[in-house]
């Protein structure tokens, strides 16, 4: 069957060297060992932001629940909230909470718990309890509020007197060494059913190379993979899974345009980047070149933003300005791919008569940023990109695709951002990890996974009296 667009992207898993095994039901038990680059120092959802990293988002949702969840199609599903309603104008929403849900410490989840968490995470929201309902009021109409509640910083947590965190999610915290190690244990009475895995052990602060070695020598079952590592991992026989393109790689100017000349120079830089060749060489063919902020699979219109380099036009724009400043471009020193990208873009810029100076210093004219798409809800993702870039999303419109296009175009018109690529998030897992699916949005969905030790096909019969 031929797959198109978002379907194809959502199904974009690299299932390499699938063992010849028969279909089997999930088995309970086992410990999954995960290795991550990020060294999280806090697990408190309220300590996060709406622009949380993939790792933070996924770990949070293993321990804590949100009021609603969202699927790959952007459709909402009930979680801690069983139903919700909006008053006319979409400024006031009320939620009915699921009854009988307990925190990991045994305490019953109450509307007050939820209200307190949401107030902390969203200081501008008015959140209160009204009878059987939790009510949220906004200053302006917010038709996407139920979808915003799927974000990990809106997860519901409870702190006891000692500061110990408790959630209502599928796993509880068994051991926590901030920045180093987290051990999660299955919650026997999880309201959605106990996870199959007994435990998940997460090692933090591991670079991608060390993660891959750990996977190869059997020291980890689940690791992050960079685009440049995918061919090697595939050859090694691990299972490689990629999400849809959900991470925006872009150049972000740290300040607004201050003169018409500066506008011309930014135009020139945007026009000279050879996205297609960078993708095929540095990114090993992964990801998609983009001229927009949101990936095409979420909007359906992303292709209208041009991505092809136009060096003659870039030079033409550059030549209209007598002297161009040397721009410093900052990148994350721990991200080897970022350094390569910046150096390559600097070469493109030089061809257009611009000088870019790569640096790891914090104070720079531009930064290469990687912004994780917060949600498969495109409006929320766009808001998230705007926030991460220090921009303000234009208000108004009727929440339609056309309105979203207008809002995205307005953000691009500021020329603060030069979108480069949308990258998938990629993981490699051991063959023993079964039934693991990566959401199109990069969500792990580990609660349904299990560890198996099935052997290959063989037909043997042995007797036992």
């Amino acid at each position: 069957m031929k797959l198109f667009g978002w379907q194809r992207l959502a199904a974009s898993s690299l299932l390499l060297t699938a063992l010849a095994v028969a279909e089997t039901r999930p088995q309970y038990g086992g410990r999954l060992r995960v290795s991550l680059r990020e060294a999280m120092t806090s697990l408190d959802p309220a300590g996060g932001t709406s622009v949380a990293s993939f790792a933070r988002r996924n770990l949070t949702l293993l321990i804590f629940d949100t009021l609603t969840t969202i699927d790959d199609r952007g459709e909402l599903h009930p979680a801690l909230a069983t139903s919700w309603q909006a008053a006319s104008g979409n400024q006031r929403w009320q939620f009915r909470l699921r009854q009988g849900v307990k925190f990991h410490d045994g305490a019953l989840l109450t509307s007050d718990n939820v209200a307190s968490c949401l107030r902390t995470a969203n200081p501008s929201w008015k959140v209160f309890v009204d009878g059987d309902f939790l009510v949220i009021e906004r200053d302006t109409p917010d038709p996407n509020l139920p979808a915003e509640l799927t974000l990990s910083h809106n997860a519901v947590a409870k702190k006891d007197a000692d500061g110990k965190l408790s959630g209502t999610g599928p796993f509880h915290i068994a051991d926590w060494q901030p920045g180093k190690k987290l051990v999660l244990a299955a919650e026997e009475n999880y309201w959605r059913g106990r996870p199959f895995l007994d435990a998940i052990e997460i090692e933090m602060g591991k670079n991608l190379r060390d993660q891959l070695i750990a996977l190869e020598v059997g020291g980890a079952d689940f690791v992050e993979v960079g685009p440049e590592q995918i061919p090697r991992v595939s050859m090694d026989g691990a299972r490689v899974s990629s999400s849809a393109p959900v991470e925006l790689v872009a150049l972000l100017f740290t300040r607004d345009i201050r003169s018409p000349e500066e506008k011309l120079l930014r135009d020139a830089l945007a026009l000279c980047v050879e996205r297609a060749s960078i993708r095929s060489v540095l990114l090993q063919g992964t990801g998609q070149p983009t001229g927009g902020l949101l990936p095409n699979w979420t909007t359906g219109y992303g292709f209208v933003f041009p991505t092809d380099a136009d060096l003659p036009r870039a030079r033409q724009e550059r030549e209209q300005v007598r002297t161009a400043p040397n721009w410093s471009v900052a990148y994350d020193a721990s991200d080897s791919m970022a350094r390569l990208l910046v150096e390559r873009i600097a070469l493109n810029a030089r061809d257009a008569g611009l000088v870019l100076q790569p640096t790891t210093a914090a104070n720079a004219d531009l930064r290469l940023v990687r912004i994780a798409m917060a949600s498969s809800n495109a409006w929320i993702a766009l808001t998230n990109v705007a926030e991460a870039s220090g921009l303000v999303l234009p208000k108004g419109g009727e929440n339609s695709v056309e309105d979203m296009y207008v809002a995205e175009r307005e953000l691009l018109t500021t020329q603060r951002l030069i979108p480069l690529f949308h990258l998938p998030v990629t993981y490699a897992s051991a063959k023993t990890l079964k039934d693991w699916t990566l959401g199109a949005d990069g969500s792990w969905r580990l609660a349904d996974s299990w560890m198996g030790e099935r052997q290959g096909n063989q037909q043997t019969v042995s007797g036992k009296p």
Binding site: R8, R73, P78, S83, Q85, V304, Q459, T460
Partner: protein, 472 residues
């Protein structure tokens, strides 16, 4: 804001009322009607969108000649794309915008038929001369129709896959309570078990009508990979077995479902005994069904097994047992194969092995089977076959790449085997399903099996009846 007026609760809620509403959205043997309705609705949306887009384009170009192109970037097929393209041209012409050859007009209109996860997005890039281009777009919801895979070809014995039911909620089991007799047999009254309720449907005037939906009460959360069974009873309509819960469905109207926490063993080998086999007439009274040939089956049907209340497997404790064996390793499913003087029981254990118990010995085999097996009584071969699940990819590695359109969506399959001399012999070709098999149970009469599949593409659960036909 104190007197805010709210809309109706948002759909997809977990409450009995909306669940019942979901039930009515099922597609059951009315696939062509539902499909035609969906296609009609989509065509109506599409036509409105075409006119809307044509209006937006005309507002930019004004009447006159343009160079028009239409590119499909969506999942629409060529036929649909051509139809949309044709209607767009007509709509534009009605507004005075004529499509001409490239050298006859300066204005170009490039229309892309695109999509996102929830909507079709049609985008027109309009360029007037050498000036800046402008964008016009419209969107309308995508409508996904259900799809049923077709049965595969057969070899010695043919397994026929008959669509029975489809719904969003997980189907645990289906009991056919009444059906038309041969030569045109088909269910006309069924009970569907899902995690929260038992729903009864009756075929009336060619349409399935829900008669009643009865909630299953349970105090503990269900385990993942939930399993359950509907078993016809003698003095009431059905017993409903769920992990740690047993429910009785009364036979008298109005139907009442009474549930309690229970660790009663689940019966294995349904439909093998004259004593337990029942058929249910339209007034909900259970009546004995036709007798099963042979005198050995009643031995098989008397076996029950305890199901782990917080897991997805049987504990291995049997009641009363198979010969001298009172326990077997934890298992997912079991299938009896009646012989002349004994019953050979097959247990698909949690560790992937198959245990064959004849009452005296326990033979262990490791086959390339899945975890679900069920036996059926047929008029083919030895008269009894075992159906076993397996992955469609069991024999080959698969590669599905983000950069290739060959994403592998293959699902599980079921194949029939006979056990000659304790070794399995495949007697049918595998029947493929469009997803993971979540349940395989022998149906009440014993000559057919129920298969439930989670169709990942359609996002729903589909139940099929597996019937057999002997090869000529």
């Amino acid at each position: 804001m104190q007197n805010a007026v709210y809309n109706s609760p948002i759909r997809k809620m977990v409450n009995p009322a909306s669940r019942a509403a979901h039930g009515f959205r099922v597609v059951l043997l009315l696939f062509p009607i539902v499909l035609s309705f969906i296609l009609d609705a989509r065509a109506a949306d599409s036509t409105a969108a075409e006119q809307q887009l044509a209006g937006k384009i005309a507002a930019v170009t004004g009447p006159g000649a343009v160079v028009l192109s239409v590119e499909n970037r969506s999942s629409l097929g060529k036929k649909e794309t051509d139809a949309v393209s044709g209607r767009l041209r007509v709509a534009l012409e009605s507004l005075g915008v004529r499509s001409v050859n490239p050298n006859q007009a300066a204005a170009t209109v490039a229309i892309s038929l695109s999509e996102n996860p929830t909507a079709y997005v049609w985008v027109a890039e309009i360029r007037l001369g050498a000036g800046e281009s402008s964008i016009a777009m419209v969107s309308f919801p995508r409508a996904e129709g259900p799809s049923f895979a077709h049965e595969s070809m057969s070899t010695a014995l043919t397994l026929r896959k008959i669509p029975l039911w489809a719904q969003e909620d997980r189907i645990l089991d289906i009991a056919v309570l009444d059906e038309d007799p041969p030569p045109n047999p088909g269910p006309k009254h069924i009970a569907v078990l899902d995690p929260e309720k038992v729903s009864l449907y009756r075929l009336q005037g060619g349409k399935w009508q829900q008669e009643q939906a009865l909630s299953v009460s349970h105090s503990r959360p269900w385990p993942r990979d939930l399993r359950g069974r509907l078993v016809p009873a003698k003095d009431h309509l059905l017993d409903v077995y769920l992990p740690g819960v047993l429910c009785h469905l009364s036979a008298a109207l109005p139907l009442v479902l009474t549930c309690r926490e229970s660790d009663d063993p689940w019966p294995l080998g349904r439909g093998l005994s004259p004593g337990t086999e029942t058929s249910v007439n339209s007034s909900f009274s259970a009546t004995p069904g036709p007798a099963t040939p042979g005198g050995t089956a009643s031995v098989a049907s008397s076996l029950s097994a305890f199901f782990a209340p917080t897991r997805n497997f049987f504990t291995g404790a049997l009641a009363p047992g198979v010969g001298k064996f009172r326990t077997v390793p934890k298992f997912y499913s079991a299938a009896p194969l009646p012989r002349d003087k004994y019953v050979l029981w097959l247990f698909a254990s949690v560790d992937g092995q198959l245990h064959l118990l004849d009452g005296i010995t326990d033979q262990v085999a490791r086959l390339d089977w899945g975890s679900d097996i069920a036996s059926i009584r047929t008029s083919c071969g030895s008269g009894w076959q075992v159906l076993a699940t397996s992955s469609a990819n069991a024999a080959s590695a698969s590669i599905a790449s983000a950069n290739s359109a060959s994403a592998n969506n293959a699902g599980d399959s079921v194949r029939a085997y006979e056990f000659a001399d304790r070794a399995p012999v495949a007697v049918s070709a595998p029947v493929d399903f469009a997803g993971e098999i979540t349940a395989l149970w022998t149906e009440t009469k014993g000559d057919t099996a129920l298969v439930v599949v989670r169709n990942q593409e359609a996002g729903n659960y589909e139940a099929f009846r597996l019937a057999t036909a002997c090869s000529q």
